[in-house]
């Protein structure tokens, strides 16, 4: 008999519909798995047992009455960056350890009204700043494939939970690779849609011109289901795009004959692990045998993505995080002598090391005398990088390449050197700078560690990415592999 956690989100929706199990049974099953396994992973910051069971009961009642949305009764987890009314929203920070949001993020309310049950809030790098989930105030998350290794970040809790099947799917956010990189390192599927596709309302801001919500799932089909339910125009987000959401599942099985995939030669640099490259080449061969045409393209400015990002993102972060002042909400230091002491110590004690480093970098690049040399210059290079993509899309339908330069690395291996850590996102950051949709899908292993294949599409071409990913997943079974230690 197939166990409930061995099923994909799509299969669980079907199982609920045909009455194979109730939402309460399903929810209880995943809550038991979290209780049994999560001390090994630390993937959840908060588990919402009572609320989840109440939502599951409501979903079962709705179903009995012939009602319920497209996700009625399926449990999912939310990254702890999405505000949830009545449930602490920490953003992985001591600063918000005591924060109870007065409202729900649009992503949370949309998935809630589609019928999804929330299992809890997942661990993450503090304020989504990190690529290994080691900057969380609540401790690092472990990779279910090898607990001595990182799951990637910043959506590392969501990725580890889905990879270990502690949740069928989870939400995430991606500012420089924070959905795709952990998806790749844990062997699951992750998609960051076009900037503006998913509402940022109630999604705690890091770098507002780069941040975008998305999903981490077992398959492209699951990603299509979940992304469709959470996407769409939201008047509460000033950068939300007023454009209808297509039926992402309708085009999943379209034939790949004639689809042109561009492989940037810049992605195959000396930084790419030879074994990851070998896996990538096999995956590209598979896509070719499915009918896709692979063409080498050149994107000469892509190499400047990481330095550009480390000006733009810290600049926006230093501005966004100025709201944490110890006055209206969040952490306040004890016994401040005056207002300046209150600000400085509340922020000094409430933020962790990496967050403070980025606020400092951002403050520096925006300060008088340096603005033109750093921030303005970075915005110009951002334009060049975006133009590289535009030019590539004149001859190809999407970009294909590796998601990360290496498989998952050991905990602590890169915490001593910020630059080495930043270079993990070398292949993912370009899509954020340009605002393009991008996804990572499992594409093989190096030893016991999963490898991800990245696809980057033109604006609002999520449907095409999902189509290519789905066809690939029908021809391969990498996405069905799960870490044995968590599958008993």
């Amino acid at each position: 008999m197939t166990l409930m956690h061995e099923l994909t989100l799509t299969e669980l929706v079907a199982g609920l519909r045909s009455g194979d199990f109730s939402s309460v049974e399903l929810t209880r099953h995943f809550l038991e798995r979290i209780a049994r396994y999560d001390q090994r992973l630390n993937s959840f910051i908060t588990v919402t047992t009572d609320q989840a069971l109440a939502q599951a009961e409501a979903a079962d009642r709705a179903r009995a009455a012939g009602e319920g949305g497209p996700l009625a009764g399926v449990p999912i987890a939310h990254k702890d960056i999405f505000c949830t009314s009545g449930v602490r929203t920490s953003c992985g920070s001591r600063m918000l350890d005591n924060f109870n949001s007065p409202f729900d993020a649009t992503v949370v309310s949309r998935l809630g009204s589609a019928g999804a049950v929330m299992l809890g809030k997942t661990n993450m790098d503090e304020f989504a700043m990190g690529s290994s989930n080691e900057t969380s105030y609540y401790g690092p998350v472990k990779n279910p494939w090898d607990p001595s290794r990182v799951p990637g970040g910043s959506s590392g809790g969501s990725a580890a939970a889905v990879a270990a099947r502690l949740a069928p799917a989870a939400t995430g956010t991606d500012t420089g690779g924070s959905i795709r990189q952990p998806a790749a390192l844990t062997g699951i599927t992750g998609i960051k849609p076009t900037y503006g596709r998913v509402s940022r309302y109630g999604m705690i801001a890091f770098a507002s011109s780069l941040d975008q919500g998305g999903v981490l799932t077992q398959s492209a089909e699951d990603a299509a289901l979940l992304l469709e339910a959470m996407s769409g125009f939201d008047p509460r987000d000033s950068t939300s795009v007023d454009k209808p959401v297509p039926d992402y599942r309708a085009g999943l099985s379209a034939d790949l004959a004639g689809v042109k995939l561009g492989l940037p030669t810049e992605f195959l640099d000396e930084g790419l692990d030879p074994q990851v490259r070998a896996a990538l080449e096999v995956a590209i061969g598979e896509l070719q045998s499915l009918g896709a045409e692979v063409i080498e393209v050149s994107m000469p400015n892509l190499g400047l993505s990481v330095p550009t990002y480390y000006v733009v993102a810290p600049a926006e972060c230093s501005s966004n995080l100025s709201r944490y002042d110890g006055v209206r909400f969040g952490y306040r230091c004890s016994d401040p002598v005056d207002l300046e002491d209150l600000y400085k110590r509340s922020r000094g004690e409430g933020f962790g090391e990496e967050v403070k480093r980025r606020i400092m970098t951002g403050t520096y690049v925006l300060s008088a005398g340096y603005y033109d040399a750093y921030y303005l210059k970075a915005q110009k290079v951002r334009q060049l990088i975006s133009a590289d993509f535009k030019r590539a899309f004149e001859s190809v339908d999407m970009i294909v390449g590796p998601t990360t330069p290496t498989p998952a690395f050991e905990l602590g291996a890169k915490t001593g050197d910020p630059i080495t850590m930043y270079l993990n996102d070398i292949y993912t950051i370009g899509a954020n700078l340009a605002g393009l949709p991008a996804m990572s899908i499992p594409a093989g292993f190096v030893g016991e560690l999963p490898v991800g294949l990245q696809l980057v599409g033109a604006y609002f071409a999520e449907d095409r990415l999902l189509n290519v990913a789905h066809r690939y997943q029908q021809a391969t079974d990498w996405h069905r592999r799960a870490p044995a230690a968590f599958m008993q």
């Binding site: 011109s209 008047p235 795009v241 400085k344 922020r347 606020i359 400092m360 970098t361 334009q383 605002g435």
Partner: protein, 95 residues
């Protein structure tokens, strides 16, 4: 470019962040390395390129000037470290 301790202390003041004396040397070194790293942008041929502030070329939407939110002061202040009579409390600013 290597930052000086004085520069780092000034940035920390602008950012309203308190660091201990012991934290400053490592912070100075790390920030200097980050600034060195982003300095490679200087060589990029940007000429007349327009700066890109935002991925989507769209204007900010305007909305009608109408009340859309209700008064939720009590719910919001429930998160505040210190309030009194509907006001946020801070240390005395004027002696």
């Amino acid at each position: 470019m290597a930052l000086t301790r004085k520069q780092v202390e000034n940035i920390a003041h602008l950012a309203r962040l308190r660091f201990s004396d012991q934290e400053i040397p490592a912070l100075t070194e790390n920030l200097s390395r980050i600034i060195d790293f982003v300095d490679q942008l200087e060589a990029a041929p940007t000429g007349e390129v327009l700066p890109m502030a935002h991925p989507l070329d769209q204007a900010q939407r305007l909305r009608d000037d109408a009340v859309s939110e209700s008064d939720e002061r009590e719910r919001f202040q429930a998160n505040a470290p210190a309030t009194e009579a509907g006001l946020y409390l801070v240390p005395k600013v004027i002696e």
